[in-house]
């Protein structure tokens, strides 16, 4: 079973990378980019076949390692 995890910065937390990218796009002549936020995207290949259990596992992984829950949110999708 495969899990797709998105880790994004919480609302209001400064995103230095996103800011720099938006700035660079602007100077490359891409007008109209009002904001860029950069997050992480993880694909996990799991041995678990039960969706409920897999979700529980991945949630625990996010809490413990994959996301920094002080400043980041995460979402889990199973495919």
């Amino acid at each position: 079973m495969k899990a797709r995890v998105h880790v994004t910065l919480k609302h209001g937390v400064l995103d230095p990378q996103g800011k720099a990218i938006a700035h660079a796009l602007g100077s490359l002549g891409f007008g109209g980019v009002e904001d860029v936020r950069q997050g992480k995207f993880l694909e996990l290949e799991l041995a678990e076949t039960d969706a409920g259990k897999a979700r529980e596992q991945v949630k625990a992984m996010c809490e413990k390692l994959l996301a920094n829950t002080v400043i980041e949110n995460y979402t889990i999708e199973l495919v």
Binding site: K10, L14, A20, H23
Partner: protein, 575 residues
Amino acid sequence: MTKITPEIVAEHGLAPDEYEHVLAIMGREPNLTELGIFSVMWSEHCSYKSSRIHLKKLPTKGPQVICGPGENAGVVDIGDGLAAIFKMESHNHPSYIEPYQGAATGVGGILRDVFTMGARPIAILDPLRFGSPEHPKTKHLVSGVVAGIGGYGNCMGIPNVGGECTFHPAYDGNILVNAMTVGIAHTDKIFYSAAAGIGNPVVYVGSKTGRDGIHGATMASAEFDEKSEEKRPTVQVGDPFVEKLLLEACLELMAGDAIVAIQDMGAAGLTSSSVEMASKGGVGLELVLDDVPQRETHMTAYEMMLSESQERMLMILKPGREDAARAIFEKWGLDFAVIGKVTDTGHLVLKHRGEVVGDIPVAPLTDEAPLYDRPWVPTPKPAKVLAADVPAANDLGAALVKMLGTPDLCSKRWIVEQYDHLVGGDTIVRPGGDAAVVRVRDHATKGLAITTDCTPRYCFADPVEGGKQAVVETYRNITATGGLPLAITDCMNFGNPQRPNIMGQFVGAIEGMSEACLALDYPVVSGNVSLYNETMGTGVQPTPAIGGIGLLEDYTRSASIRFKAAGETLLLVGE
């Protein structure tokens, strides 16, 4: 308008009698923004209310001292028109909550303190204390803190040349993350923070203001409880890239003569920077908050004044210099905004959306900040340990191996290698020795020896002797590289000052430090106090971290600890 209830006052960390004093100064009930300003200015972090009367006992003068405590950093003369500017600071609480960002922004803050005064930073050092290696959080904290310090300093391109890292269960719930920066400036190009010149523009540069760490300054002064790990993030995210640009832009502007005064926005950002600049200059400031560069929409005056967004500075410019200054900051891609002017009212006046949203007389706000002579008891002298009571090691070799394997004494390569300690090409004695030696830029022969030291175990047993020992150890370490010790900075990390025994540790450490400094002509020129390093009643060991600097007239003659060749003679000197 929000009614100021006793609950709101308490949430702002002001004691009832402190609030009475606010009312007396204002002559009316403050609004929320004004209350917020009093709350940060009167927090332990900004006002030093528990420590100030004792800090006064430290010797701060000497022929080498150009500027002692009271400015962003201390300034010491190193001859030939050059000065060393340095200071140490703590970022303990934020680093416990979010080790990477907490430590990173700690480095960012201390770098700003030094380049605000016109110095190019040439070295970072980082004394760290963690809980026991077995504690479940320690590993995560160590790796996060080290990565954060490296992440910020490496990107800035300032070599990290020293520090400490020791472990003790007393730090399980309160790690200590201290950082020191040393910079070099020309003695005729040192910048101070006193605002002057009625009508002069107040200029904001750096990053935009967001809702970062609102109330971080009061958080840093509140004792931890179990819940604080879950509180809304008051931790700020640092952007070392922007700080690097800010450093270069500030130094470029400082090469000219446009700046009247400059101050970084540290903890309590716009509030402490504007209040301190006005207070030191004995003037008023009027700020138009609509003109503050903002990262988020609908920010209130309260939020803007209390935001702890990083990588920002406040300056007073000479009239008519705005455009030339703006050109420099825009070249570096930074925000630049005129947000107000110097006034003769002696008040900090805040305007937002066409209304006056705050009006506080500056002098009483700073001069009448609470000052406590907290009750303290001297730490009882420990019983003498007699040599006969300690079993002799029967195998000295094995004992040595065992000692070398302890977390406190083992090699710190794992840490040191995550820090760029060579950038700049001026690192003469690398980390790992007694003191680092860094060559002074723009001088043919001079070098600085730099070290940080403290042995909390000694301070816990006997704060007076421990304080003395920490100062003396930096002196010895500098001497061992061939440097002439010049002056120190300190970072006083203690528990809850409202406990008489903790206050006694603080008073004792200061006494010991003073005695050592006086005996050695080795003054304190800057420093920082971090109190309430305590979780659920358990405090850290008293940790007065000392950062010392010394001068080598000829860096090519520095000594290092390495054996250079076989057959060399070993000498033991001293008692």
